[in-house]
């Protein structure tokens, strides 16, 4: 009898192989797609969580400080914000690596931080430091979190928060506060910056006394600075504010401060002012908040603001408040400051307005831009390859691309309880 020959079907046909391969490829593609999606979601989550953690470190500290900020109604200047090296400032403040120095405000004020030093060591005894009010300063920096200032590769953009103990604050800082002259170009006129600008002897929280510049008086540097034509190594003296113990959060490349103020005028006077400014459309009660924010006064920024304005966007309307709906080239300037703002209990003096604004500070809105870990890695890679911080002159676009791609903004409004709230 004839029997079937099994060997007749021992292999696969070409068609079968093709079909099998096609199925396999499809499955692999699907799995790869799922994996890529998962990884990108993971990256996003990591970026969000890490930037948020850094931003919280900054904003939580700020919130406690501003909640307890001391602004006494005694006519003295209790808070000052400067934007280094902006037009009109004669103190010679330098750039911070590739952040234009007119864009990194130094914030100086007084508050009762809960984490202030409460005692000092003198020999073998521990002495309680009396007092509540401490001088506080914020600034952006670029340094290693571990030592001073660290190699280029170790350096990261950071947020530095410096607190002077209550005793030194009482002895040295507060007596300096006087009613300063209206000139904003001087650094010796009795404002918080007068204190921070110079060399002081202060109690080191880790023991003993230290004498040194709080903010270096030679350059008032945001060290290590990008000096003209120099490198990071050119100036490492940033003053004690750049000490590693003041390191608060890393990868922080932007800091903006908006002062939200109520009117300190009578209702009638305020109404008149508002009506005048807004073309007589709507009145605004004195307690309505109006913003005063730092817009660098450099020509480029006026161009920027003007361009935004003429295109129908931006500064003039950007805050959405009635007081912000002003002509950007005339009276609108008064609600912005270019390089300096001095805060008194009942008024704010800016470099853009000849007379102090009749505003009383109620809330402070801080906005920080934090780089995600991927962006920070990319930036460090570029800097390591070059051996210096990427330079504003040569690497502007690279830096801005990284900030635009990997930077995340976080903002918070904080109530200044001590000024009439």
């Amino acid at each position: 009898m004839s029997r079937p020959v099994p060997s007749a079907r021992s292999g696969f046909t070409l068609v079968e192989l093709l079909v099998a391969s096609a199925i396999m490829v499809t499955i692999v593609l699907i799995v790869a797609k799922i994996a890529v999606d998962t990884l990108s979601a993971y990256d996003r989550v990591v970026a969000d969580l890490s930037t948020q953690a850094e931003a919280r470190a900054v904003l939580d500290n700020m919130e406690r400080d501003f909640n307890s900020a001391v602004i006494r109604p005694d006519g003295r200047c209790w808070m000052e914000i400067i934007a280094p090296e902006a037009t009109g400032d004669t103190s010679g403040l330098k750039k911070l690596a590739n952040i234009p120095s007119d864009l990194q405000p130094v914030v100086m004020f007084f508050s009762a931080p809960t984490d202030r030093p409460r005692w000092t060591t003198s020999g073998t005894t521990r002495t309680t430091v009396s007092g509540e009010t401490c001088a506080v300063a914020y600034r952006l920096g670029r340094r290693s979190p571990f030592d001073l200032p660290g190699s280029t590769l170790q350096q990261v953009y950071c947020f530095q928060r410096t607190i002077i103990d209550a005793q030194n604050t009482f002895n040295e800082a507060i007596p300096l506060l006087t009613v300063p002259t209206t000139s904003l170009s001087t650094v010796t006129s009795g404002t918080p910056f007068t204190y921070w600008y110079a060399t002081r002897t202060y109690i080191n929280p880790y023991g003993g006394n230290v004498t040194g510049a709080l903010i270096s008086s030679s350059t008032v540097a945001l060290a290590p600075v990008h000096a003209a034509g120099g490198s990071d190594a050119a100036n490492t003296n940033g003053g004690w504010t750049m000490d590693e113990q003041n390191f608060c959060a890393q990868n922080t490349v932007g800091l903006s401060i908006t002062l939200w103020c109520a009117s300190s005028e009578s209702a009638a006077a305020d109404l008149t002012r508002v009506l005048t400014r807004n073309g007589g459309s709507t009145g605004l009660p004195p307690s309505a908040l109006r913003p005063v924010t730092c817009y660098p006064a450099a020509l480029g920024d006026l161009t920027y603001r003007g361009a935004l304005h003429s295109a129908g966007y931006g500064v003039r309307s950007s805050y959405g408040g009635l007081m912000a709906r002003q002509n950007v080239t005339t009276d609108g300037k008064s609600d912005f400051f270019g390089y300096r703002a001095r805060v008194y209990s009942d008024r704010i003096q800016t470099d853009t307005a000849s007379a102090p604004l009749p505003y009383a500070l109620r809330q402070v809105e801080a906005s920080v831009i934090v780089l995600s870990p991927a962006g920070a890695r990319e930036l460090r890679g570029i800097q390591a390859a070059r051996g210096v911080a990427v330079n504003e002159g040569t690497d502007t676009s690279e830096f801005r691309r990284i900030v635009a791609t990997h930077g995340r903004p976080y903002s918070r409004r904080m109530i200044v309880l001590g000024n009439g709230n």
Binding site: V45, Y313, S317, E365, R413
Partner: protein, 267 residues
């Protein structure tokens, strides 16, 4: 000749249709469960992110309620305050919130806003979001796309905004015009049940709290008749997917808040 019964099986070395269907079914179930796991973990990640955003929004909301004149109302994409505004206004310009002279205390504004929000259906809807002040350079305005002023890191800070829309809708074109980062949070404010059992009404003649206690319904119409020194409210934060409010609040559309927070407004 009839072939022996064993021969057909020798001639069928492949699988039967039933076998193939079974195998495909098993693989399908496995894949489906795998994707199900992935979806649920994506969902969990999304929930965490939403809760994080809601916490930020909650902080912004507390600050805004502290001074309700910083709350905006009825912004729009074209004529609103996203551009050169002539009509944008603060919340107190809503009729009935402020007093005649426009200088009512902040507490009174919040009170008037929320005194009737006794049930979820009567709740007050706000939108909380973070926005960039100006658009990114080069996106819309070519003249500032190059040069030193092209991208000002600090010249474009973000800020938290709280808005009330009369229609309770926050369309996507408004979000674009406001440079909103991400999507807004939709917040519903209602009176807290902590009020139940409290003597909330002042007697008009004696100035003392009446013996009647609050059970439900609206609070006294005037803040001057309200007996307590504080107003407890509940804020529910929902993610905003730009669906209409009718869709959002439809009973068939089971929406869960990502965060519920009790806020106490002090006089």
């Amino acid at each position: 000749m009839t072939p022996p019964p064993s021969i057909p099986s020798v001639r069928r070395p492949g699988f039967t249709l039933v076998e193939v269907i079974l195998a495909v079914g098993v693989v399908g179930v496995a894949l489906a469960s795998l994707i199900g796991i992935l979806t649920s973990s994506f969902q969990q990640v999304d929930d965490i992110m939403q809760t994080n955003r809601a916490l930020t929004a909650a902080q912004g909301l507390v600050t805004a309620l502290d001074n309700p004149r910083s709350i905006l109302k009825d912004i729009s994409a074209s004529a609103g305050i996203s551009k050169n505004d002539t009509s944008g206004t603060y919340l107190p310009s809503v009729t009935g919130l402020d007093n005649a002279t426009g200088d009512a205390p902040n507490f009174d504004l919040v009170y008037n806003l929320l005194k009737s929000a006794d049930t979820p259906a009567n709740g007050v809807w706000l939108y909380v979001y973070e926005r960039k002040q100006v658009i990114a350079a080069g996106e819309i305005i070519p003249t500032v796309s190059t040069g030193a002023s092209a991208y000002k890191i600090n010249g474009n800070p973000s800020l938290i905004e709280v808005v009330r829309m009369t229609t309770d809708e926050f369309p996507v074109d408004v979000a674009q015009a406001r440079n909103v980062i991400g999507s807004p949070m939709r917040v519903r404010l209602t009176l807290s049940r902590l009020l139940v059992g409290q003597r909330v009404t002042l007697d008009a003649t004696t100035g003392e709290p009446t013996t009647a206690t609050y059970a439900s319904g609206a609070l006294p119409s005037s803040p001057d008749s309200y007996a307590l020194a504080y107003l407890p409210i509940v804020a529910e934060f929902f993610p905003h997917e730009y669906e209409s409010k009718a869709t959002f609040t439809a009973t068939t559309n089971d929406q869960q808040p990502v965060l519920v927070q009790t806020i106490v407004i002090n006089r």
